[in-house]
Symmetry: C4
């Protein structure tokens, strides 16, 4: 919490300007969910085990059948060149340097191919918004496939724009979103978000999965019944998420939504969770409650804003060091062995 | 909450004067219920559904057998000319412009006929206080009937005045309450409220319903047993309400009182709820918990105070836009389909 | 709460001096119970009933077999001449003027006879501390009996002094406690409280009851098992109390302790509750939860400090007016008809 | 809480310097557990009993088969010469003067023999960290045995260092830790803590117990299953502890962990609890919930920092006086008779 306050403070605003700052830092409505996303982690208490040999720790997990050295995933985030000139290249480089799975946003300000160049052999997924003009989305998928992105993360909680009052106040305009407006004059987020397709349904998911020829992960599921439908629709993974508190205010936190989703579909698909993760012990809690991995967004972005690729990398390194320390102190040297016995309610 | 703080701030006080401001902004006693009315909404979490076609939204509901384009109702509020010179004509014009059902207070500072002129074809109800001098109340009902008011909202939670310390401090005096003191010198609220009949009982309800020749809605019910008696007494609707926190401090919030009332009488009469509504997602929560519509008072009045009819209209338009957005983001395009699965406790 | 803060603020300190202010305002330890005593009332929500004829209200109750016009009792409070020169005469006059039962403290700074003169025909009880030198206590009982005090309120939660850090800081010294040190130099509260008998047991209660020849009320019971023992010991009444938060910090609030006591002995003896009462609706909550009456201490004392007898009377009048208003707004015109259906948890 | 704030305030920082202050005052991560350790006590309400003869109080308890005059134990704390020049000699003298059991840390800055000289006949235990270089630990045990330490408190919650951000900020370096670096240049805590053995398991406990020839107490257990393993491993006692909130942030508080541990192993081994104890009534709550004794760390250390041996002694005397007062006011004159009936949830 204090951490979040800290990184979301005034000097970032002066660093990247009020428009971009408001866009990245802000949430929907009165931002109650934005705050709850962070506080929700602190309502979960850790119950450490003692006298376990923790001289070797293994942070590894498995996502979509591939081994990952650790469960931290860089969340898809739009318009990263508004946080730092280096943009998506910076977070991608940080991901590659830390063996973090990188997820590129459809609303990228750098092309999928250019980001892939930075990533090299490092794993990557591509996040997809389905736009009213579906050709744009299909073209993005084609670009992603060509550049070696291995899964498609379809965001399902953005049929329309969230109610974001900061953007209205600042009049923030986006430059260079390569898919939607590569060369025109800057657009407001309202204009950009109006291009999202509000008629997207379960039927469309299969279509995109087939066309993509890669596994599909659905991002933005909060209800166990929707999780079951996701499994029925052939999803290989689910991101339990409220979109960083940016869509609908007072929506429950991802980590609070996770346990019923685990009860409904745990073990049949990979589960990720996001929202308010700033500490390695948050990651451990997510795993203990049944997640296979955790997406981290703003926390990495503030690193990018402060120090480019190095700044983002430093954030990821600290998070991983904290997770490593947490496994040792929990007496659970292998991340995959975390279970509900390690957590309780505060 | 922040919103409420915002609109109830000092500049409104300087705009309309401390007496009127204290009267409109204030609540009973230490104003714990006044605050709880707003906070109660934030204790309810939203559980959105995804991948529903929300390209078309329908905010419509049905009240007293008539279709309404949306569930937002302008609550009856006294003495509106103290908020702005245009008074009830302003809120009525805002209601008409936004297809909001308008409820005129017995304590109006504009005649029912003049308000009806502004409303034109727009739907309207009339709120009734039963005064010790019942002739005054009967005369008001007659005026309402003549001017096309379609239902009688009898307020049942005002046998005596609430314990309002702000009015005592400011010595606020009311000008032009047309029913009680059309031409005399200004009276204090204490003097005006002393005209209310504290002996009103269930037996009287039928009498007024018969005399009015229109459906009766009882406003101010909080207990399921009283809701059952209201149904037995022939009420067509109930407003679950604590009178905006203005009557008895530490009374439970309307939205907290709603679920037991729904359990007791849901489906047999129309249910409205009020108290602290400032956001479109508050409205969605009320519907999800079983209300058919929501009354909005102070929030509209502050719009009136700031900008007359246009100010009140802007408030209503934002509320409806937020509700529309909420339906899209909840994956529930028709307001009438909201149910308890969309909400939980935070 | 705000109210309490308000009356316990700096100007009272300058009015009566830091020593007396610390003594009266303070509580034990970190004063968590002192605050909780006030907050506990606000955790109880009121559930009003509507359409009841409340044109006539009856605040009456019965205590020790005698009708009382209302349930507000002036609590025994020590050293009142340190709050105002008029001392116990002032609160007694206020009690008489408002038909409030008055309870005189053993630690009075005015003789029982002089207080009785002020009270005239008004009802009075006498509070007894049992001192190591029991002759002092027996003498006090004799004085009380002679001056028409009708019951003996034996305080049972003061075997030793509470841990009061304000008194240590200020070095407050008491003048004129007539029973313990009528003419010597001022003593600290530590010196005075060391005179209490820490060996007092249930066996002693009967002895004092027999000697007094009047009904005995035990003040300071918080546990249902102790309440049962009080009944077995012949007590006619019990005051559920944590001594105003002045004895043992983090002790539960009287109103939170009341329901189990009611379950254990309700109906067999009279039950009073105290601690943090500042509002008429607090009194109504106590009655709804099973109390027969409520003791009010500091709230009356601050009235005394500010305005002597008139100040104390004004406090009592407002409290009674608020209670009257609460009965009307709860739809429960007779105080004795309040029951648990009128309250819930917030 | 206020108390804790008070003692952890700026003047201590200027007294002992920011490095030492940060080391002693700080906790892991965002210090949520550090705060919760103190707040957890205030969530427990006391339920006093009345009319018990409390003229004589007996604070005595039994630890490892030996009678103790009271249940307050001075917790093992590292590097005490950084709090005051007199270092461990000061707290040992305070313990001896107040008949408090003293536990010397492996990370002492004074030799076990020199501390034993100060303690004289007073009871003492020795806390053991198991280092990678086990010879160091075995040598410490030998020194302890020779100097009359009667039990070995093996800390089991320190396989690796906690995530302590204050030390990183201040760059605090430790002088004179006699076991690890008696004569070299000062080391950072990171360097010192890297000497701890992260491979320590249950099997090692028996080895050390056998070598020590004295009873073993395990410090840092929070889970009932670990408590059962401790009993199986032959432990004579358990300290339920989160290491003063210094190891893993958001770990549950010791007092919240105690009841399940009591359910699992109560009566078969001695149970101590620590974390955030600053008041005598905290001690009483621990005993009521099943502890045999309570360790007090920082609270004593701040006394040492402020006033050397006299300062530490004053803290212990006040704590014991508060406990004595609490027993009287709870109506439970013998500490060993405290049980769950005296406590509840606030």
């Amino acid at each position: 919490m204090s951490d979040h306050e800290d990184v979301a403070s005034t000097d970032l605003e002066s660093l990247i300007g009020p428009g971009a700052f408001g866009y990245f830092a802000g949430g929907a409505g009165a931002e109650l969910t934005l705050r709850d996303n962070v506080e929700a982690w602190s309502r979960i208490a850790l119950h450490p085990r003692v006298l376990v040999d923790v001289s070797e720790r293994d942070l590894g997990t498995t996502l979509l059948g591939r081994h990952r050295p650790h469960p931290v995933v860089v969340a898809p985030m739009a318009y990263q060149r508004h946080a730092h000139d280096v943009g998506e290249r910076g977070t991608a480089a940080a991901a590659a340097a830390t063996d973090s799975l990188f997820v590129l946003s459809s609303q990228t300000t750098t092309s999928p191919a250019d980001v892939a160049d930075v990533l090299g052999e490092s794993d990557r997924w591509f996040q997809l918004y389905v736009f009213r003009d579906r050709a744009i989305s299909h073209d993005l998928v084609a670009q992603a496939r060509e550049s070696g992105y291995e899964a498609l993360v379809i965001t399902v909680d953005f049929p329309v724009a969230g109610w974001r009052e900061r953007d209205r106040r600042t009049g923030f305009r986006v430059e260079h979103p390569i898919a939607l407006n590569p060369s025109g004059p800057p657009l407001t987020t309202e204009q950009l978000f109006a291009m999202h397709d509000p008629s997207l349904t379960w039927d469309d998911i299969g279509e995109f999965a087939d066309a993509a020829g890669m596994p599909v992960v659905l991002k933005g599921v909060l209800r166990p019944d929707d999780a079951e439908r996701a499994v029925d629709a052939g999803a290989a993974g689910i991101v339990v998420s409220n979109h960083g508190g940016r869509q609908l205010d007072t929506t429950l936190a991802g980590i609070d939504a996770l346990p019923p989703v685990v009860d409904a579909v745990g073990g049949t698909v990979d589960l990720l969770v996001d929202g308010g993760v700033t500490r390695g012990w948050d990651v451990a809690k997510a795993l203990a409650l049944g997640a296979d991995a955790v997406m981290v967004g703003r926390h990495v972005l503030w690193g990018l804003a402060r120090g480019g690729a190095e700044g983002a990398e430093a954030v990821l390194r600290q998070l991983l060091a904290e997770l490593d320390s947490t496994l040792a102190l929990l007496g659970c040297p292998r991340a995959v062995d975390l279970d509900a016995s390690y957590v309780g309610r505060r």
